[in-house]
């Protein structure tokens, strides 16, 4: 149990996808104009991460890793399909994004309109593939750990995007110098938020 809590706290704060690794920046910068759409995208990212990472964990441990196929028989013990992991992971991610897109379109058409192109683009959101690759690199020992890691990374991303969306709503009427309006100031805010999130860097759980 303590392990799970540690993984969760690490994923949300210490190894925040945005502020520790700067992953998933494109949609983070582009869809953070209002808290409402940011919440929607953040929830979608949590969902996609939370489903694809455990799936990829299963794939990794029962198909791709060296010796993972040994359940088929002893002759498969030396088979190493590790070179396929990128394409397999991204295929899983893409399939799930498609599913999420259909669900959102069906049940939340307003949000679907607001998210626009960025919803299908979750498929190429670096934080999703990043989540799968971190899972592979850190070699979580059970599917439970991988799931906790996936959800907490998603929640970390979610917090980051709604926080910056709230800031951007706040500074909507500030006299930001014209060349910096829009993306420019968002980059600067992200940097300042990164400094603030360094509060967690160094905590070892």
């Amino acid at each position: 149990m303590v392990d799970y809590i540690n993984i969760a706290l690490k994923g949300i704060f210490v190894e925040n996808m945005i502020f520790a690794y700067f992953l998933g920046m494109c949609s983070y910068l582009a869809v953070s104009k209002t808290v409402k759409t940011a919440t929607g995208l953040g929830a979608a990212v949590i969902f996609v991460l939370g489903v694809t990472v455990p799936l990829n964990w299963l794939l990794e441990n029962y198909v791709l890793m060296e010796g993972a196929l040994s359940w088929l028989g002893p002759e498969f013990e030396t088979v190493d399909l590790g070179f396929l992991s990128f394409i397999m992971y991204i295929a899983v991610v893409a399939a799930f994004t498609q599913l999420v897109e259909m669900l959102v379109e069906k049940f939340m058409p307003a949000l679907y309109g607001a998210l626009g192109i960025f919803l299908p683009l979750i498929a190429v959101n670096c934080s999703i593939l990043g989540g799968a690759l971190f899972m592979q690199e850190r070699q979580y020992s059970t599917v439970g750990e991988a799931t906790v890691f996936a959800f907490s990374s998603g929640i970390g991303w979610f917090i980051a995007i709604i926080a910056i969306a709230a800031i951007r709503e706040k500074i909507k009427y500030s006299h930001v110098p014209a060349p910096l309006k829009g993306l420019g100031i968002t980059f600067i805010i992200t940097g300042l938020m990164g400094i603030a999130f360094m509060s967690f860097s160094g905590i070892s759980l």
């Binding site: 800031i167 500074i171 500030s174 110098p177 300042l192 400094i195 509060s199 967690f200 905590i203 070892s204």
Partner: protein
Amino acid sequence: MKAIEKMMRKMEPDHHGKWAKFHPVWDGFFTFLFTPGETTKKGSHIRDGIDLKRTMFVVVMALIPCLLFGIYNTGHWHYVAVSGNFDLPYWDQIGDKIIYGALQVLPLVIVSYGVGLGVEFAFAIKNGHPIQEGFLVTGMLIPLIVPADVPLWMVAFATVFAVVLAKEVFGGTGMNVVNVALTARAFLFFSYPTMMSGDKVWMSGLSDVANSPEGFTGATPLGELATMATNEPIYSSIDAFSAKWSVWNSMMGYIPGSVGETSFIMIMLGAALLLYTGIASWKIIFSFFAGGLAIGYLLNATAVNGYMELDPVHHIMLGGFAFGAVFMATDPVTAAQTSTGKYIYGFLAGAMAIVIRVLNPAFPEGVMMAILLMNVLAPLIDHYVIQSNIKRRMKRLKTA
């Protein structure tokens, strides 16, 4: 007074003349010295002598006790470092200490004000808007939250960085997202860690002392405490720590640290002024301390190492906790704006400060990072407080 006013009036640059660009500079100095008598031509106007400059000046006055005490404290620890005698009587050689402290601290103040106001003036001239006086407080805060030995060019660098990137790009005073003075400190902390942390910087002049007596370190109480959470604690128990650094000493401020942060009493003097004039929010100060104490007692209850056993009351007297609570967290621009939000914001900031101190070995002091973190989360807190208010009222509307 009249003569000065007349002279200033004469110097006012013509709006179409050669010096028209510099009108904001003149305006800045003039309104700094005199309350402008002009009122709006039509519509309502408020007759009150208070404006942003006066507000800021009250805060600067509230900081003066900390500054004066900081000057003396800097002097004292310098003589401790030079003599190597840790038990040097505190109120002795008063003149020497004041002179040394003033020579160390006042240049910091001058550089911070000079550079910061220079940037402000440059932006005001460039954008053609009146000087914004938010820097009056920032310029005083920056010297108070750095070690007295920090090189002046670093202070200048940090000030420029903070004023430009944390304030001017957002549109100037009142628009910034994170506290400007804390951004300057964070910049120094991450860019020049050797000048901002460790055992050498907290007693002025210690790094120049060739060989200090054995066992003499210049670590702050918090720096020593941080070892209590590791495998090599320098104290056998937390009581040994409290024997060396008593609560009384940290309350009075007889401890090494950043220039203005050490004395709880002096900070409370400032807090009294800020609360009396209504400039700082008591909700934030109160909940900040409440958050710190709550986490302190929680850590007490679940203590697994010596650090966690520290008395929470002692905790909030050490380091920059009180200073952050009174002068940093209450910054009306970067704090939460809603009333409920202020409680949440203050509580989380105070709690985070202690959490970072105790649990994060990378930072012996967590107040700066905690407040910066809550600064960036404050708009989010406000957003949800407002949303919940709207929801509650909608409900009332529907049932009525």
